[in-house]
C-alpha cells in the first residue's frame, strides 16, 4: 500500500505538470509528447516548490505542496477549451519499444539493477528530507555524513521525499520504479522528435525501439535503478529534443527548463547543459544578437535553478563538491590508463553491443544524415569526462570503472538523437527555423 501511494504521488506529478503546461502558448505546449512533458514539468514544479519552501523555512506538508499545483490545474481545466493537441502518425511497431521498457521495469522492480548509491545516499537523503519535512541541513552537515555529498543536486531526493510524504514512509522497493518511469518518458520524448524529424511512423518506431534497447540494456548493466542517471538522461533528451524539433526560437525557454532539471539532478547535467548551449551559440545560430538571445533563453532557468540551490547550500554551510579541488591537479601521468578503463566500462557486458547497435542503426539511416548538435554534445561531453579523469596522481581505473559506464549513456543518447533528430530540415541555421522564430512558433 505504501508503494502504491508512492506511485500515485508520481502520477500526481503528471497532473501538476499538465496544469503548468496549460499556462504556455499552444505552440510551445505541443513540442514534446504529453506523457513526458507533464511528468518532467510536474517534477520541476514540485521540486521548485520544495526548494522555495526551504528558502522560506516553510516545512513541507502535502497540503502545502499541493496547494499551488491544485490552483494551476483548476485554472488549466477552465482554460481547457483553448488547448491544442497535435495528432501525429502512430505505428503499431511502438509496441516493441514499450515491451523493452517493460523488461527494464521488471529488471528494476525485481532488484536486478539497483544502484549502490541509492542505498548509500540518494534514497537515504530523500527519506531524511521527508522526515525533516524540508532539506535536512543538520543531517547533511554532520561530519560523519560527509560521503553523502551535502551539496549534490537535490531533485531526486526531493522526488523521493515528495513520494514519501504521500506514502507515509519511504518505500525502498517501489522507488526503484522511478528508473523505468524516467526511461519511459525518455523513450517517449525520443519518439516524439524522431517522428517529427524523420517524418515516417515506421522508421521512427524502429529507431525508438533501438533507443529503448540501448537505454534499457545500459540501465540494467550499470545498475541505474534508484540513482539520478535515468532522470538526467530524461531531462537531457527532452532539452535536445526540443532544440532539434523546433530549431530554436521561443521553444528555447522549454529547453532551458529541461536543462534546469538536468542541473538539479546530477552534476553532469551542468556540463551537458553548458556544452549544448555552447554548441547552439557558437555553431548553430547565425548573428551575434541571436546567439546572445539564445544563450539567455537557454541559460536563464538552469542559472536560476542551480543558482538557488547553491545559494541555499552557501547560506547553510553545505558547499563541498562545488568548491572543486577534490579530484587533484591535472596530470598526464595516468593518461595511458584511461582509454582501456573507459573501454572496459563501455563494453556493457555484451561486447560493446549498445555501441555496435547504434553504429549499425546510424549506418542504416545514413541517407537521412545526422544532426550536428547531439554529435557535438557527445564528443564534447566525452572530452570533458576524459579531462576530469586526467586529474589526481592515483590510478583512476577504479574511478572510471565505477563512473564511465553511466556517464557514457549520455553519449549513447546523443548518438541516438543525432540519428533520430535529423530529417526534413536542417537544424538551427535553416530558413525554416528563422521564419518560425519570426512568427513566434506559428
Amino acid at each position: 500500500m505504501t508503494g502504491l501511494r508512492f506511485l500515485l504521488a508520481i502520477a500526481g506529478l503528471h497532473v501538476a505538470g499538465w496544469g503548468l503546461l496549460t499556462l504556455l502558448p499552444a505552440g510551445l505546449r505541443a513540442i514534446l509528447p504529453r506523457f513526458p512533458a507533464t511528468g518532467l514539468a510536474g517534477l520541476l514544479f514540485v521540486g521548485g516548490e520544495m526548494l522555495a519552501f526551504s528558502f522560506l523555512a516553510i516545512s513541507w506538508t502535502l497540503p502545502r505542496l499541493l496547494a499551488l499545483p491544485t490552483l494551476v490545474v483548476c485554472g488549466g481545466l477552465l482554460r481547457r477549451g483553448g488547448s491544442r493537441e497535435i495528432p501525429g502518425p502512430r505505428s503499431a511497431l511502438l509496441v516493441i519499444a514499450a515491451g523493452i521498457v517493460a523488461l527494464a521495469a521488471y529488471g528494476s522492480w525485481s532488484a536486478r539493477a539497483t544502484s549502490a548509491d541509492f542505498v548509500l545516499f540518494w534514497g537515504a537523503k530523500g527519506e531524511r528530507f521527508a522526515l525533516a519535512r524540508g532539506i535536512a541541513v543538520p543531517f547533511l552537515k554532520a561530519p560523519e555524513h560527509y560521503l553523502m555529498h551535502p551539496d549534490y543536486p537535490p531533485l531526486l531526493p526531493f522526488l523521493y521525499a515528495f513520494g514519501s510524504l504521500a506514502a507515509g514512509r519511504f518505500p525502498w522497493g517501489a522507488s526503484l520504479l522511478v528508473m523505468p518511469w524516467f526511461l519511459a518518458m525518455t523513450v517517449s520524448v525520443f519518439h516524439g522528435v524522431a517522428e517529427k524529424r524523420l517524418d515516417h511512423p515506421r522508421e521512427s518506431a524502429l529507431l525508438t525501439a533501438v533507443f529503448a534497447g540501448v537505454l534499457g540494456l545500459t540501465g540494467l548493466v550499470t545498475c541505474a535503478a534508484g540513482s539520478a542517471d535515468a532522470g538526467l538522461i530524461a531531462f537531457e533528451t527532452a532539452a535536445l529534443a526540443v532544440l532539434l524539433s523546433t530549431g530554436g526560437g521561443p521553444s528555447e525557454w522549454i529547453a532551458g527548463a529541461a536543462f534546469a532539471g538536468a542541473c538539479l539532478l546530477k552534476l553532469e547535467g551542468l556540463f551537458v547543459s553548458a556544452i549544448v548551449i555552447s554548441g547552439v551559440i557558437l555553431v548553430c545560430r547565425p548573428g551575434w544578437r541571436r546567439r546572445l538571445v539564445s544563450a539567455a533563453r537557454l541559460s536563464l532557468f538552469p542559472a536560476i535553478g542551480l543558482g538557488s540551490w547553491l545559494l541555499f547550500c552557501r547560506a547553510n554551510g553545505l558547499i563541498d563538491f562545488y568548491r572543486g579541488g577534490q579530484i587533484g591537479a591535472f596530470t598526464l601521468k595516468n593518461a595511458s590508463r584511461i582509454p582501456p578503463a573507459i573501454l572496459h566500462a563501455a563494453a556493457y557486458d555484451y561486447a560493446f553491443l549498445p555501441w555496435i547497435a547504434l553504429a549499425l542503426t546510424g549506418f542504416a539511416f545514413r541517407q537521412r544524415g545526422w544532426a550536428f548538435l547531439p554529435l557535438w554534445t557527445a564528443g564534447a561531453f566525452l572530452s570533458v569526462n576524459v579531462y576530469f579523469y586526467l586529474h589526481g596522481t592515483a590510478d583512476p581505473t577504479i574511478w572510471i570503472w565505477w563512473s564511465a559506464g553511466r556517464t557514457l549513456i549520455t553519449v549513447l543518447t546523443c548518438g541516438s538523437l543525432a540519428i533520430g533528430g535529423h530529417g526534413r530540415e536542417s537544424n538551427f541555421s535553416d530558413r525554416a527555423a528563422d521564419d518560425r522564430e519570426r512568427r513566434g512558433m506559428r
Binding site: L103, R112, L120, W172, G213, L217, L360, T361, R442
Partner: protein, 150 residues
C-alpha cells in the same frame, strides 16, 4: 500561416530495415539474458533492493535484512552504535552508510564514535560478542544490546 510540409522521404531500404531489426533483436535478447542471469524470473517481490544485484551487492542482502529487523524493534530517536564482525571497536564505513538510510528514525553512530557513556543500543551484525550490554533482540544475523546509562 503554416510551413509547407516537405515531401516525405523514402523509407529505409529493405536491407537497412533488416539491419535495424537485427539490432533490436540483439538488444532485446541481451536484456532478456541479463534478466535471466541475475535472478529467478518470477513476480515474487525481492527480499531487499539488492536481492538480485551483482554478487558484491547481494552480499549486503543479509545486512539489509538485519537492519530491517532492527527497525521494527528500535524506538524512534534511539542511538544505535554499530559494531563489525569480530571487533567491538570498529565497523565498516559501508555498513555505517547503509544503516543511516535504513534506520531513519534513529541516530546511528559508528563503533568508534565518542566515549561509550551508555544509554544506547549496540547492533552487532554477525558478531555475537558478550559483554556489550543486555541482549534485547536475538536475530540469526546478529544481536542487539542495550547498554543503560550509568
Amino acid at each position: 500561416m503554416t510551413l509547407p510540409r516537405a515531401k516525405r522521404r523514402p523509407a529505409l531500404r529493405p536491407a537497412d530495415r533488416l539491419l535495424v531489426v537485427l539490432c533490436i533483436v540483439a538488444l532485446t535478447t541481451a536484456i532478456v539474458d541479463r534478466l535471466a542471469r541475475t535472478g529467478p524470473l518470477t513476480f515474487r517481490p525481492p527480499a531487499t533492493v539488492f536481492s538480485n544485484g551483482s554478487p558484491a551487492l547481494r552480499s549486503v542482502d543479509p545486512y539489509l535484512m538485519f537492519l530491517a529487523a532492527l527497525r521494527d524493534v528500535l524506538p524512534a530517536g534511539a542511538t544505535v552504535r554499530l559494531v563489525a564482525p569480530g571487533d567491538p571497536t570498529h565497523d565498516s564505513w559501508m555498513n555505517f552508510e547503509i544503516a543511516i538510510g535504513q534506520l531513519p528514525r534513529q541516530k546511528v553512530i559508528r563503533a568508534d564514535a565518542g566515549e561509550r557513556r551508555g544509554g544506547e543500543f549496540i547492533a552487532a551484525y554477525q558478531n555475537p560478542l558478550e559483554g556489550l550490554g543486555r541482549p534485547v533482540m536475538r536475530h540469526p544475523l546478529g544481536l542487539l544490546y542495550w547498554r543503560p546509562a550509568p
